[in-house]
Symmetry: C2
Subunit: 350 residues, 2 copies
């Protein structure tokens, strides 16, 4: 039997609130679902090895894994930059080294978001042609297809060309990883008309107007949830605020709803009847479906998952990393960056 073209992903087994068990559950799910996946399980061998069989990683699945030793873990009390000096032997840093060294196409971590970003940018490095890598959030949508919002954390004080680059990277990700055909791209602003917005967003529109994309111009806050944009680009400050406020609002409503239903007898009775219906609805809002936030614009694939990720979310994150590698998103991103640069030079020449 010939070896399939393996896609090699370095998985930070130690990251995540649920510990190595949840991450390895996800690894097992992913290995079963993707016969062309090879996983580098990065972390403390003594903690990983005894859990493998229990998580269902044995036989053929086990043959497509390798443990890569990493002695320490970046904790929530560490600074993001800890991976540079004190924690060079942390699982996040070692996973990034696997990508840097060519052992893996990409990395997946559910650990310290900031540390995973620093590792991706400093260890793996920025893709030539990209000014600033950016973190993309995949917003689940009530209407079916998700919306990609980027940047959501990495970059404060963006220039117009950065926002244009984010938009183009998001376009590639939506198309190649999320499978959205001809995604509609927007720039986050305070009104639909082209004249609305800040100086920076208006210039970002200019950069994007002549690119070969399905460009929808300005998007508004409500378009994150109830309209037809697939990708929305913005400064990392505003993206971070919108992401965090949305998460808190959605959780607040859903928890509040549960508490309210429990507060009286009719509510409890009705709540029992609607439980499975509600569960179906909650699933639509579940980020786990999309696995995590890709850090786009680095020389490899980097998917940063939520600390609370379950096995299903870990598996989805690995699937996203594999798709990114398989569909060569970085090659496509570089083409886009080149065209953007050419267009802006032509514009200047005119």
């Amino acid at each position: 039997m010939e070896a399939p073209p393996y896609y090699r992903i370095a998985l930070d087994v130690m990251g995540g609130d649920h510990g190595p068990g949840a991450t390895l559950d996800g690894a097992a799910l992913a290995l079963s679902a993707m016969p062309d996946l090879y996983l580098l399980l990065v972390g403390d061998r003594a903690k990983i090895e005894p859990r493998l069989a229990r998580c269902g990683i044995q036989g053929e699945l086990l043959a497509r894994t390798k443990i890569v030793q990493a002695a320490s873990v970046v904790t929530m009390d560490d600074k993001a930059t800890a991976i540079i000096k004190e924690k060079r032997d942390s699982s996040i840093r070692v996973a990034a080294e696997c990508v840097r060294g060519g052992d893996a196409h990409g990395m997946v971590s559910m650990g310290h978001t900031g540390a995973a970003m620093v590792a991706s940018m400093k260890v793996i490095g920025t893709l030539p042609g990209v000014d600033r890598p950016c973190l993309a959030a995949i917003f689940p949508s009530l209407r079916g297809t998700p919306t990609v919002l980027l940047d959501v954390g990495a970059n404060v004080n963006c220039k117009p060309e950065h926002i244009a680059q984010f938009a183009l990277m998001g376009d590639v990700y939506a198309e190649e990883v999320l499978g959205v055909k001809n995604p509609k791209i927007g720039v986050l602003s305070v009104g639909e008309e082209d004249g609305k917005g800040s100086k920076i967003t208006r210039q970002a529109l200019d950069f994007l107007r002549n690119q070969d994309i399905h460009f929808g111009g300005n998007a508004e806050g409500r378009d994150l949830w109830d309209r037809d944009f697939d990708v929305i680009a913005c400064d990392g400050f505003i993206g971070n605020v919108v992401l965090k406020s949305s998460e808190a609002l959605a959780e607040g409503i859903l928890h509040g709803l549960k508490d309210t239903l429990k507060s009286n007898f009719l509510g409890r009775l009705g709540g029992l009847l609607v439980r499975s219906t509600l569960r179906k609805f909650y699933k639509k809002l579940d980020y786990a479906e999309y696995g995590g936030a890709p850090l786009l614009g680095v020389k490899g694939i980097s998917i940063i998952g939520h600390g609370r990720s379950t096995g299903r979310a870990v598996s989805a994150a690995i699937r996203a990393a594999v798709r990114g590698a398989k569909n060569n998103i970085n090659g496509r991103i570089q083409e886009r960056m080149l065209r953007l640069l050419q267009a802006s030079r032509e514009h200047e020449a005119v």
Copy 2:
């Protein structure tokens, strides 16, 4: 019987999606609830007069009203600046003239938000000491007390001192109108620590640190919903995006939930049982409780309500305007602006 100290509010009767009927319902509620309220009903006399009795405005209530004729209405197709030239006789502009001329302490409009802002700023005028008036959104909270977010629309490209002014104006509004004791104030940013944020938000922190307020430093996106800030100040661009995305998300979840419950028999049955419980929950999220968005920093009170306002919301907006006048928020805002200016001068002198 001696005349009570009347608080005179100019009500734009013609604005709002539900037409003059809903506005007059709100007027009737407000007049009944507040014996010291006098209303200037601004709009087309021919449309207002025949509706008064039907809405319950008669006898003693009627005696505390006066119709002020305004021939035209700003529609959603008009530009916000229409009130400057073409629609000088619009109900929004005439209401603002009532405040400018001293006939009214404040105005309330459920009409064109942009036009109401322009009328407040250009006709009523900016309060001395305030650099830029700002629009404040009152976010209903699942935990009881609301959170004031400002600015949410008026000002793009804010300087640090503008954000500091917004924070201080929000402090006065929360205390004097919403009745929050010693409100906790924050600046919207991307992390809790003082070093986090943009250059602009970090400088805004410096301006606010030595003011006589309960200052909590940086607030994050999630603090809009699940933590203990009462007032959060930010650039008008980001405030607008957060407001619109939150509205769309909350509506999307609640509508999606209704649809889901209707989608099968158990859901429908359970839905009937939980209906009143759900209604109680929805009420917690209802902006109508707070009546509208105050435009702070103008020489008078200006409350801009949602176009969809019901009578109850109109009445709440009028109540907010009366409280603002009664508790002299503008006097208090001016004191704050003066102290801010003194502190920054002392700072420069050091």
